[in-house]
C-alpha cells in the first residue's frame, strides 16, 4: 500500500510537534537563565552587603582624666589637641578587665575599640573642655574583627589558629556583650566618612562627592555639546561626505572600549595639557567624551520624532529655520533628549575603567571640595575595597555596590518617568 501525502504528513506530525515543543522550551529556559542570573547577582550582593548598614559599637565609661589630658590645666587648644587620648581608652579598658596583666594580652584588649575612638574623644574635648575631670559614657565603634564576630562571620567553633580572634578575645567580647556594652547600631560612618584603612571608619561619602563633581562636569559638557551636534546633524547638515564622516565617527565612538578613552585622557589631558591627576575635572572630561555619542544618538532620534507639520507650520508663519528649531522643535524634543542624557549619565556613573588610567584610584581620605581636588568615584571605591583582604570590607564593598545600584535605579527610573510623562504620539 502506498502512502498518500496526507499520511506522510500525519506520520511526521508527532515528531514535528515534539521539535516545536523542544524549540519553545529552549527559549523559555534561556529567558529563565538570564533572569536567574540577575536574581542571583542581586541576592548575592544584598546578602553580603545588608549587614554593613549596621556597625557594632562599644560602650566605654571614659574618665576624662585631667592628669592625662591637660596636666597644667591651661585648657590651651594646642595642648588639648596634642593630648594622648589613647591613654584614656586604655585605662578604661584596663579597669573593665582588671585581671588582664600580660602586656601582649593588654595590647589585644585595647584593640577591641576602633582606633577612631581616640578622635571621637578628642573631638568631644575640643568642643567642650568642661568635660575634663568628669566621667562620661560614650559609644565608640568596635574594631572590625569584633564587628565581624558579633555579626556571625567569625565562627567560634573553628580551631583557634584559623580565626582572626583568639579564645581570650572572644571571652572578653562575650563578657562585654553579656553586660550590654556591645550594641549594633545604624552605621552612620559609612555614609558620612571618606575612605579609611580601618573598615569600621571607612565611608563612601568622599566617593559620592567625587562622583557628583565628575558627573557635574560630564553633564555640563556633554548635554549642550551633544544637543548642538544633534541639532546640526539632524536639521542643518547637508548630506555630503563630511557629515557622513561625522556620523560614522559618532557611531564608532559609541562602540570604542571605555579603557581607550582612559588612554586618551592620560596622554591628552594629563600629559599634554598638564591638568591635575585624580581630579573630577579630568574624569568628567573623559566621561563626557564617552557619553557624547549616547546623548547625540538619543537627541537625534528625539528630533526626528517631531512631525514635519510642526516645522512647516512654524516656517509657514514666517519663522526662520533657527527660530523654528529654537521655538518649536527643541521644546518638543527636549523630554527625549533629557531621557537620553540621563541614561548616558547613568552609564557614566557606573564607569570605572577609564578613571583608573587618570589616577582616580588613589587612596583619598579627605572629602573633595571642588572639581580640582583629588578624589575617587563610587565604582572605583568599590574596586579599591574589593581588593582589600579584610572580611569587613567585603560587606562594605557590597553595601557600596547597593548604594551605587540605588543611584542607577533612581536615574533610570527618572528617565522612564520622563518618557512616560512627556511621551507624545503624533
Amino acid at each position: 500500500m502506498t502512502m498518500t501525502t496526507a499520511d506522510k504528513i500525519q506520520a511526521g506530525l508527532k515528531k514535528r510537534y515534539a521539535a516545536e515543543r523542544r524549540f519553545r522550551s529552549y527559549g523559555l529556559v534561556s529567558v529563565t537563565i538570564g533572569l536567574a542570573a540577575l536574581l542571583f547577582l542581586f541576592m548575592s550582593i544584598i546578602g553580603k552587603g545588608y549587614t554593613a548598614f549596621q556597625q557594632t559599637y562599644l560602650k566605654l565609661d571614659v574618665q576624662f582624666d585631667e592628669a592625662i589630658i591637660d596636666p597644667q590645666a591651661t585648657r590651651d587648644p594646642q595642648t588639648l589637641a596634642r593630648a594622648d587620648y589613647g591613654k584614656l581608652i586604655k585605662k578604661t579598658m584596663r579597669e573593665r578587665f582588671p585581671d588582664v596583666k600580660n602586656r601582649r594580652d593588654k595590647r589585644k584588649l585595647y584593640k577591641l575599640a576602633s582606633p577612631g575612638a581616640v578622635f571621637i574623644i578628642q573631638d568631644m574635648v575640643r568642643k567642650d573642655p568642661e568635660l575634663i575631670g568628669t566621667t562620661q559614657t560614650i559609644w565608640v565603634p568596635a574594631d572590625d574583627d569584633v564587628d565581624m564576630f558579633i555579626k556571625g562571620y567569625i565562627n567560634r567553633d573553628d580551631p583557634e589558629s584559623a580565626r582572626r580572634l583568639k579564645d581570650k578575645e572572644i571571652a572578653w567580647i562575650d563578657a562585654l556583650a553579656a553586660t550590654g556594652s556591645l550594641e549594633k547600631r545604624f552605621n552612620k560612618t559609612f555614609f558620612t566618612a571618606g575612605d579609611s584603612r580601618e573598615p569600621e571608619l571607612a565611608g563612601i561619602w568622599g566617593a559620592v562627592v567625587g562622583s557628583f563633581y565628575t558627573l557635574l562636569v560630564t553633564l555640563v559638557l556633554s548635554f549642550p555639546i551633544g544637543v548642538a551636534t544633534a541639532v546640526y546633524l539632524q536639521e542643518f547638515a547637508p548630506r555630503n561626505r563630511w557629515t557622513d564622516l561625522i556620523e560614522v565617527n559618532i557611531n564608532n565612538l559609541a562602540a570604542v572600549p571605555s579603557i581607550v578613552f582612559g588612554l586618551l585622557g592620560l596622554s591628552v589631558f594629563l600629559n599634554f595639557m598638564a591638568l591635575p591627576r585624580s581630579a573630577p575635572l579630568v574624569g568628567g572630561l573623559v566621561l563626557s567624551l564617552m557619553t557624547l555619542p549616547t546623548v547625540i544618538i538619543a537627541s537625534r532620534a528625539s528630533l526626528q520624532s517631531v512631525p514635519p507639520s510642526i516645522r512647516e507650520g512654524a516656517l509657514g508663519m514666517g519663522a526662520s529655520q533657527m527660530q523654528m528649531i529654537a521655538h518649536h522643535v527643541l521644546p518638543l524634543a527636549m523630554p527625549g533628549m533629557l531621557t537620553g542624557t540621563i541614561i548616558g549619565m547613568a552609564r557614566a556613573l557606573g564607569e570605572s575603567a577609564p578613571l583608573l588610567m587618570i589616577g582616580m584610584v588613589a587612596f583619598i581620605v579627605n572629602i573633595p571640595e571642588g572639581p580640582l581636588d583629588p578624589s575617587t568615584v563610587l565604582p572605583v571605591q568599590i574596586y579599591l575595597w574589593a581588593d582589600t583582604p579584610e572580611r569587613a570590607f567585603v560587606e562594605r564593598t557590597s553595601a557600596a555596590t547597593l548604594v551605587l545600584l540605588a543611584f542607577l535605579v533612581a536615574m533610570n527610573g527618572a528617565a522612564v518617568w520622563l518618557r512616560k510623562r512627556f511621551e507624545q504620539r503624533w
Partner: protein
C-alpha cells in the same frame, strides 16, 4: 584676577552688552521701530555674542600656552650650567621651582641661583595673570563696542546671530572627529616610541610577556619581554567563553520573547533582562571575584579538578551574563525587522512555528544577527573591570579555562595604574596594547555596522 572671577565679570559684561545693543536698536529706530530689520533682542544678542566669544577664545588660548611660554622664558634665564642639563633633569628643576612657589616640599635645597629663578618665575606668572585680565577685559569691551557701532535699523542682526550660532553648532559637531583623531594620535605616538624600543614583530608574535624591565643593568629576572601573544590568547579565551554563554542564551531568548511569549510576559521580562546591561561592570567584577570564582572552585574540588582562584572561566561566565542583553536586544530588533509576509507565507505552507523560525526568519535575519554578535565580541574584547578583578595577571599561554589568564585590558590597567615613567617601554607598552585594542574593536565595529545597515536596507 582668577579665571572664575574673570568669567563672572564676562557674564556681567555680556548681560550688559545685550541690554545696550537692544536699547541702541530701539533708540536708533525711534518711534518708527517697525523699520528695524530684526527684533530688538537680536541686536542685543549680536552685541552680547561679540562681547563674549572673542574674549573666551583669547582666554582659552592664553591658558593653553601661558605655562609653556613662561617656562621657556625661565629656562632661558637660568645660568649656563643648568642650560646644558638633559631634559628630565631640567624638568625636575622646573618642578622644584613650581613647588617652591606653591609652598610644597622641594626635592633638594635650592641654590641662590635657583631662588632667583623661582622669584623670576613667580613674577612672570603674576605679570601674565595681570596682563591676561587686562587684555581679556579690553577684548570683551572692544568686541562689544564694535558690535554696538554696527547697529543700525537696516542692519540684518537676526541673520548674523543665526550665522554665528550655526558656526557654533558646526564646531560642536566636529568634536566627534577630534575625539577620534585624539584617540588615534595619543595611542599612536606612544606606540611608535614603544616600537622603537621593541620591534613590532617581537611584540605581535612573541610568546613571552613579562613587562618588568630592569632598573639596573645587573638586576636578575627582569629582562623585560614584550611578546603579546599570551595576552591575545587570554583575551580570546575569555571572549570565547563569554560568547559561548551569551550567544545561545541571548539569541534563543530573543526568539522566544519576540515570537512566542505573551505580550505581558515580554513587557516584564525584556526590561528585566536589560537591567543586566545597565549594571556597572565593576559590580560584575566583584560578583565574579567574590561569588562565582569561589563557587567554581568548590564545584571543581568536588569533582577533583584544580580550579585556580582567578580563572578564565569565572571571568568569561560573568562577562557572558553581562553580554546577554546586547545579543538579545540586537537580535530582537533584527528579528522584528523581518517582514510579516515571510512568516505568513511559511505558516500558510503548513510549517510549524519553530520550522518557520528556523527555516525562514533566522536565515533572513542572519546577517543582522552576525553583525550583532560581532558587536558583542568587540564589547567582550574591550571589557576591562571584570577581567581586572577576576581573571588574574599571569601571562600564561593556555587554553585551559580553569587556569588564570591575563588579557590586553588587564595589562593596560596594571601597567598604567600607579607611577608612570613615560620613557620606559613598560609604560609605553600599554599604549601599544591600546592601539591593538582600538584597531581590533574598530574593525569589528565597522564590519558589524556595515552588515547591519546593509541588511536593514534590504527590507526597508
Amino acid at each position: 584676577m582668577s579665571t572664575p572671577l574673570l568669567l563672572a565679570v564676562l557674564l556681567l559684561l555680556t548681560a550688559a552688552a545685550f541690554e545696550f545693543g537692544r536699547r541702541r536698536a530701539l533708540h536708533l529706530a525711534g518711534p518708527e521701530f517697525r523699520t528695524l530689520h530684526s527684533l530688538p533682542r537680536y541686536y542685543g544678542s549680536f552685541t552680547a555674542l561679540w562681547c563674549a566669544l572673542p574674549a573666551l577664545v583669547l582666554l582659552g588660548t592664553w591658558l593653553a600656552f601661558e605655562d609653556e611660554i613662561i617656562t621657556s622664558l625661565v629656562v632661558a634665564d637660568l645660568p649656563a650650567t643648568y642650560q646644558s642639563l638633559s631634559e628630565p633633569e631640567l624638568n625636575l628643576i622646573i618642578n622644584d621651582l613650581r613647588n617652591q612657589l606653591s609652598g610644597n616640599v622641594v626635592s633638594q635645597e635650592l641654590s641662590p641661583d635657583m631662588q632667583a629663578a623661582a622669584e623670576h618665575y613667580g613674577s612672570l606668572r603674576a605679570t601674565s595673570k595681570a596682563a591676561m585680565a587686562v587684555i581679556f577685559l579690553s577684548v570683551a569691551m572692544l568686541g562689544m563696542g564694535l558690535a554696538w557701532r554696527k547697529i543700525a535699523p537696516n542692519f540684518w542682526a537676526r541673520n548674523r546671530v543665526e550665522a554665528i550660532i550655526k558656526v557654533l553648532l558646526i564646531i560642536c559637531s566636529t568634536l566627534a572627529i577630534f575625539t577620534t583623531i585624539g584617540i588615534v594620535l595619543s595611542v599612536l605616538f606612544e606606540s611608535i616610541r614603544f616600537f622603537q624600543a621593541v620591534p613590532v614583530f617581537d611584540f605581535l608574535f612573541g610568546l613571552e610577556w613579562s613587562p618588568q624591565t630592569a632598573i639596573r643593568e645587573d638586576q636578575v629576572g627582569s629582562s623585560g619581554a614584550f611578546g603579546a601573544v599570551p595576552l591575545f590568547a587570554g583575551t580570546l579565551l575569555i571572549s570565547f567563553i563569554a560568547m559561548l554563554v551569551a550567544a545561545p542564551i541571548g539569541l534563543t531568548s530573543a526568539i522566544y520573547l519576540s515570537e512566542y511569549s505573551h505580550p505581558r510576559f515580554r513587557a516584564t521580562a525584556k526590561p528585566l533582562l536589560e537591567i543586566l546591561a545597565g549594571i556597572p561592570t565593576v559590580v560584575y567584577g566583584f560578583f565574579a571575584a567574590l561569588t562565582v570564582a569561589p563557587l567554581l572552585r568548590n564545584v571543581g574540588t568536588y569533582f577533583g579538578l584544580d580550579v585556580s582562584s582567578e580563572s578564565a572561566l569565572a571571568a568569561g561566565l560573568v562577562m557572558g551574563i553581562m553580554i546577554i542583553p546586547f545579543v538579545s536586544s540586537i537580535s530582537d530588533d533584527v528579528i522584528n525587522a523581518v517582514p510579516q509576509s515571510l512568516r505568513d507565507g511559511s505558516l500558510a505552507l503548513g510549517s510549524t512555528q519553530s520550522e518557520m523560525i528556523r527555516k525562514v526568519v533566522l536565515p533572513a535575519a542572519l546577517p543582522g544577527i552576525v553583525g550583532g554578535l560581532l558587536l558583542a565580541i568587540s564589547r567582550a574584547i574591550g571589557e576591562t573591570m571584570i577581567v581586572v578583578m577576576a581573571a588574574g595577571l599571569a601571562a600564561k599561554l593556555t587554553v585551559n579555562p580553569l587556569e588564570a589568564v591575563t588579557t590586553v585590558t588587564v595589562q593596560i590597567v596594571t601597567l598604567l595604574v600607579g607611577d608612570q615613567e613615560f620613557d620606559s617601554p613598560k609604560t609605553l607598552a600599554a599604549f601599544a596594547l591600546g592601539l591593538m585594542l582600538f584597531l581590533v574593536t574598530l574593525a569589528l565595529n565597522v564590519i558589524a555596522l556595515y552588515v547591519v545597515r546593509k541588511y536593514r536596507e534590504q527590507y526597508e
